[in-house]
Amino acid sequence: MGSPDTPDPRSERASQDPELLRRLLRAKDRMDAASHEHWPVRRLARVSRVSEAHFARSFKQAFGVPPHRYLLTRRIERAVALLGETELAITEIAFRTGWGSLGTFGRIFRDITGESPGEVRARARATLQDPGRVPACVLSAAHRPDLRIAVSEKRRRAADVITRPKRKEFP
């Protein structure tokens, strides 16, 4: 794939071997598909068939963030979806999205979104109860890659929230 005209790697945006990028993409795809799993650099490097040191550096160059940071961001995205679309307890959501401790989950969550899980859930609930906003909410949920809940179940849960206003909503 390399050609004599390949830009100088010392230049500001060095080019990367497309064949390597394709293998790095595979590691990124694997994290997307199972962000709740444990993804040490060793495992990711094996997917991309490169050394660990080479993997971390190349991944950041290719996708703009270090692999671990990318994984955390994907986990938080899933957690945000679960907070808005399910009534799972926050502890359960932390567990399902791959966190071993609620403290770490809360800290990284705030670090990435600027809010606490409870605040995000409260806002999602407020949006859900505003009938004018439901189509947009449904639409965005339909395009979210990690949603693993059927619409019938989602409607049932949404109906529960609406028809039982006295219910305690925030764990």
Binding site: P18, L25, A33
Partner: protein, 135 residues
């Protein structure tokens, strides 16, 4: 239909590899495969869609200078090209068949909103959604 879109193109890293993928693994047919010097115009089409061709084009001369071609190859390999959608009658069935032929899936079939979808990539890195048609 006499007016409309006839060809939509993808960039692929290797046209022979892409041809084998789209024909042998996805069941597309070759529509046109002609060469002129370095240039190869290659299109395939879905057997149920005779009016639309999918172009499988390789970055490079005479269309692109070396640096541009390199940038395009990088973008494709990073999976940064726009998503593509393939509609099927039976997503889980198509998933099983395609996987058996060695297609690289990025997402297993998931049921959402009563509709099943999956995701796969071509060898170059182009990402496809495999979506079950509403019945």
């Amino acid at each position: 239909m006499s007016q409309g879109i006839q060809v939509i193109g993808l960039y692929v890293r290797d046209q022979d590899e892409a041809l084998a993928f789209y024909v042998e693994k996805l069941g597309f047919r070759v529509h046109t495969d002609v060469r002129n010097g370095d240039y190869r115009w290659l299109t395939v089409q879905h057997p149920d869609q005779p009016g639309l061709q999918l172009g499988l084009f390789a970055p490079g001369p005479p269309v692109h200078d070396a640096a541009t071609a390199q940038t395009l190859r990088e973008i494709v390999a990073k999976g940064a090209m726009p998503p593509l959608v393939l509609i099927v009658d039976d997503c889980r069935g198509a998933y099983e068949r395609m996987r058996a032929r060695g297609v690289e899936f990025t997402q297993e079939p998931i049921d959402r909103y009563g509709k099943v979808d999956a995701g796969f990539r071509d060898p170059s890195g182009n990402g496809w959604k495999l979506i079950e048609a509403r019945r």
